[in-house]
């Protein structure tokens, strides 16, 4: 039964993050006045840079102090605040439908996407949604009026099918012409280098990318069990094994993978956030957004 849209918005969670803002780390392209840095210059209190006076410029913007020093006329340019497109790219492949606890990764991802979408809209951003498995499944273009639609869509989604992360990211990048914020929510079962190249593609288009890597505790450490047969959640392939004999080596592999992911994604200029689905989302999200705000560059 699809979850009620409202359930994705936990009041407690929202209360925790309401004072935060999902600020674009880089300049974004927006039409409306917002909180994000814009590529356009306009009237604002934020000085951006000096420019040589051209005939016709507003004389009130002439920086007289600089004239006194240089005997040349320069005007001040200020950053124009505008809104951003926040596109949530959600992995809905079968691997997301796993949870060793009360909540699966996909459920966690839906709450995360809904919460951030709410926050984005509250700050005047345009929100959109693109879900994918090995191809795009649901696409909601970013708009200030698409939050409810996005929530309804999240409610009826289910995690199934196989995923092809890299081509899906490439297709997400084609969905919008304007640079904005792309929030990728996935469990990152992909080679770090391949994923990094896909992210590079998005970054080259000017997008500000945030990668939320959802990890279930059981994925870090194989569950305690005697010899059993493991089934791949996406392909259905069976693999009989003894988890107890493999746990140490598996943990080393998964840790290595996570480390590589973090390094590669970060090197692409994107934010990499690993979220353990056993931890409360609000705490993790609050910590992230706060840190992000501090890192934002104001010019």
């Amino acid at each position: 039964m699809p979850a009620a849209p409202a359930t994705f918005l936990d009041p407690a969670l929202l209360a925790r993050i309401a004072d935060l803002a999902l600020l674009a780390r880089t300049v974004v392209d927006g039409f409306m006045h917002g909180q994000h840095r814009s590529v356009r210059t306009g009237a604002s209190l934020d000085f951006a840079e000096h420019r040589s006076y051209q005939p016709g410029d507003d004389l009130r913007r002439i920086d007289w102090r600089l004239y006194g020093r240089t005997d040349r006329f320069y005007i001040k340019q200020y950053d124009a605040d505008t809104n951003a497109s926040v596109l949530f790219a959600l992995d809905q492949s079968g691997s997301m439908d796993f949870g060793s606890g009360p909540v699966t990764k996909f459920a966690y991802a839906r709450i995360l996407a809904a919460s951030l979408a709410w926050l984005s809209q509250a700050q005047g951003d345009r929100v959109g949604l693109a879900t994918f498995t090995d191809e795009l499944v649901e696409v909601i273009p970013p708009s200030v009026r698409h939050l409810q639609r996005m929530l309804h869509t999240l409610a009826r989604l289910s995690a199934t099918g196989t995923s092809q992360l890299v081509p899906a990211i490439d297709r997400v990048g084609l969905l919008t012409q304007r640079a904005g914020i792309v929030v990728l929510i996935t469990d990152c079962y992909e080679k770090p280098e391949a994923l990094g190249r896909a992210i590079d593609g998005l970054r080259m288009r000017g997008h500000d990318l945030i990668v939320f890597h959802l990890v279930d505790p059981a994925e870090r450490s194989l569950p305690d069990s005697p010899a059993t047969t493991y089934e791949d959640a996406e392909s259905g392939v069976l693999l009989p094994l003894r988890p107890d004999e493999l746990r140490a080596r598996y943990q080393a592999l998964i840790t290595e993978h996570h480390t590589a992911l973090a390094q590669r994604i970060t090197a692409s200029g994107a934010d990499y956030v690993q979220l353990d689905t056993s931890e409360p989302l609000d705490r993790a999200l609050h910590a992230y957004l706060d840190a992000r705000r501090l890192r934002s560059r104001v010019r």
Binding site: M96, T162, Y189, K191, A198, P223, A227, T228, T229
Partner: protein, 704 residues
């Protein structure tokens, strides 16, 4: 009910039971697979799989095992053997009566005893016993196949009668063996009802009989009996005072009885001669009670053309004559035709050397010899075919003539090569008998050499058997020295050891090489009284003229002359036969004794050819063997070894093999059930199992 298998080798298919067993042992427990987001990293690890060697799905395993077992059993073709039926069949008997109907069975009281014995055997059988009847003489005739109808067997016995034929047990036993194929499970018995003549044993040694077949003999003539019989007849045309006469000589054999009575003179036996159906003379002769007596009949005028003769003996009433059927002897003396000799002379014509030879051969009418002179270079193959003998006077045949000459000899023609001074000078002359010339022996110094006969029994020397030394007084001054291969038949040698007369038989003809000088230059042989009979006998023998049989024995075959178009043959009992010619020409089996007449087209007119047939002389010897001798050398083997493979009837086969159909049906039902069971419920979840690999880490899912 017993169970057997027609193809037990298929029971090895039961080893396939290991397949479902192994599959089930290797099966992994798939009840509760643990669903994991991705095996991406687990696959990179060397995994030692759990060895869960235990069977978890017993019902399915048993179902599959049962299907495999029944399939193997079905292919093995089980046969239910009804022990009761087999036992019943075993208690019944299959008896084959072999009734001897040869000529000797016509002896006084013998046939009656034989038939009564055979009938008694039939009467002694139980209702379910099967009986067959085989009548035999030289050959075997199945008068009645195995049957429970004993009346039919008795009727077959009653219809039999002795025939003028010889005796052979082998065809009868083989026929009985074949009949017993119809009753492979019955108690088989072969009963031989015969006077058990020793001549019938020929070929019995080495005969195969199935194991378990009982062979017994009923001797209907338990003791040796006296008998008078004409053993053989010699007849030939002779010229007496210029008239063609027929001289007939009969050899009469008196067989003693088992009492071995002392030899006493028997009352006279009348011996009469019939030529072409007309009485030609007779005489009375005293015959010894045991042994051979030669009776020479006075010569009678010989009719023109072929003469069919018959010699008949009529013993006195007091004479003990166990068998009267052998008191007649038929013979045929063929038409007297000139013997055609082609005399091949050397290039120089031979001069006067062949003079005495030609003169000697020209003398006499029995046979008359016609000589045609020819030069070596002008003799053709066609000329050869129109003659009976090629006589080479100190000359070798030309190269072109060698092949036709070989064919001529093979077809019955004869060749005599006289080797003299011309051929002896060559190292290796082309001779009709392969020899190597080693020059000439000169015996002038020791007053000439002589000839010593080596093979005195040879027909060539038949005229001289009564002479101690036919070449006495003959001086041979020069003759060729030659050496012959060790396998050469040397009939005579010179007194110095050199070969004098050599023979080589080829096909139906013969070749002789004569080193004895037949001219008056190299020796004095032509002046010897032996010369004329020798050269005439030489020519007669080499041409085969003297080997023409006056009769044949029953069971032989008569090859009709090739010149006889659309032959019709009248047998002794008046039956007309129209033989068809095959590669060997038209051949008539000589079944009965008597006179066979061959006509061209129709039986009107005179017969074109005659053939006299007599029962073998051994048939007259009324000496039974001991029954223990009957099976000496006979091998008893398993049914499958000795009997020709004969498939059982289709009905019998099908009746006994029905279980395989039921088994196949059961297999089909089990397989259907297995299919249903394995595709339902928890067994129905199809999974792919990735094989465990110890190879380096595999690639990730994405190909990007």
């Amino acid at each position: 009910m017993g169970l057997g298998f027609l193809v037990p080798a298929f029971l090895a298919g039961l080893a396939a039971l290991a397949i479902p067993l192994l599959l089930h042992l290797r099966h992994r427990d798939r009840d509760r697979p643990y669903r994991f987001p991705s095996l991406m990293f687990l696959e990179q690890l060397p995994i030692r799989t759990a060895k869960r060697q235990r069977i978890t799905d017993w019902p399915l395993l048993l179902l599959r095992a049962l299907a495999v077992s029944l399939l193997a059993l079905a292919f093995a073709r089980p046969v239910f053997t009804n022990q009761a039926a087999v036992a019943t069949d075993a208690r019944s008997r299959a008896v084959v009566i072999l009734l001897d109907r040869s000529q000797s069975m016509g002896a006084t009281g013998v046939w009656t005893a034989a038939r009564d014995s055979a009938r008694a055997i039939v009467h002694a059988l139980r209702p379910r016993d099967r009986v067959g009847v085989v009548l035999f003489d030289d050959a075997a005739e199945v008068a009645q196949r195995l049957t429970e109808d004993h009346a039919a067997a008795l009727a077959a016995l009653d219809a039999a009668k002795p025939l003028a034929r010889g005796t052979s047990f082998v065809p009868a036993v083989r026929a009985a063996r074949q009949l017993l194929l119809d009753a492979p499970f019955a108690a088989a018995e072969i009963v031989l009802v015969s006077d058990l003549q020793r001549a019938g044993l020929t070929g019995m040694a080495g005969l195969d009989l199935p194991a378990g077949v009982v062979v017994r003999a009923v001797a209907v003539s338990p003791s040796t009996r006296r008998n008078l019989a004409i053993r053989t007849v010699e007849a030939k045309r002779v010229t007496v005072d210029g008239r063609s006469m027929m001289a007939v000589k009969a050899r009469i054999m008196a067989y003693a009885d088992s009492a071995n009575s002392p030899e006493t003179a028997t009352a006279g036996v009348s011996v009469s001669l019939t030529l072409n159906g007309r009485e030609a003379g007779s005489r009375r002769e005293a015959i010894t009670s045991a042994g051979e007596t030669v009776v020479t009949l006075p010569p009678v005028a010989a009719p023109e053309g072929p003469v069919a003769g018959m010699v008949t003996i009529a013993p006195a009433a007091s004479a003990a004559n166990g068998l009267t059927a052998d008191d007649q002897f038929t013979f045929v003396v063929p038409r007297e035709e000139p013997l055609r000799v082609l005399l091949l002379l050397p290039a120089d014509g031979g001069g006067s050397e062949p003079y005495f030879l030609e003169k000697a051969l020209g003398i006499g009418l029995s046979p008359a010899i016609r000589i045609t002179r020819a030069s070596r270079t002008f003799v053709t193959a066609a000329q050869l075919r129109t003659h009976d003998l090629l006589l080479l006077w100190d000359v070798a045949p030309s190269k072109a003539l060698e092949a036709p000459l070989a064919a001529f000899v093979d077809s019955g023609g004869g060749v005599v090569q006289l080797v003299g001074r011309r051929l002896s000078t060559r190292g290796s002359a082309a001779t009709v008998v392969p020899v190597t010339m080693e020059g000439t022996a000169d015996r002038l110094a020791d007053r000439g050499g002589a000839v010593r006969i080596i093979r005195s029994e040879h027909p060539l020397f038949a005229p001289f058997r009564s002479l101690e030394n036919p070449w006495a007084g003959t001086q041979l001054f020069r003759y060729p020295r030659l050496s012959a291969p060790s396998n050469t038949d040397i009939l005579a040698r010179f007194d110095d050891g050199q070969p004098a007369i050599l023979e080589q038989v080829s096909g139906a003809g013969r070749a002789l090489l004569v080193a004895i000088p037949l001219d008056a230059i190299a020796g004095t042989f032509p002046l010897s009284p032996t010369y004329l009979p020798f050269v005439r006998q030489l020519v007669s023998y080499a041409s085969g003229r003297d080997a023409l049989p006056l009769w044949r024995s029953t069971a032989e075959r008569w090859a009709l002359p090739d010149t006889l178009r659309d032959p019709v043959v009248r047998t002794p009992d008046g039956t007309l036969l129209r033989p068809t010619a095959d590669a060997q020409g038209a051949v008539i089996p000589l079944v009965d004794a008597g006179l066979y007449s061959a006509f061209a087209g129709s039986t009107s007119g005179a017969a074109a050819a005659l053939m006299a047939v007599n029962v073998p002389p051994s048939e007259s010897e009324l000496v039974p063997i001991d029954t223990t001798e009957l099976l000496l050398g006979v091998r008893q083997t398993a049914w499958s070894d000795s009997l020709p493979s004969t498939p059982p009837t289709n009905a019998e086969l099908e009746r006994r093999q029905n279980p395989w159909r039921l088994l196949l049906f059961l297999v089909a039902a089990l397989l259907a059930g297995e299919t249903f069971l394995s595709t339902r419920g928890w067994r129905a979840v199809a999974r792919r199992t990735r094989p465990v690999s110890t190879d380096p880490p595999a690639a990730s899912r994405s190909t990007a």
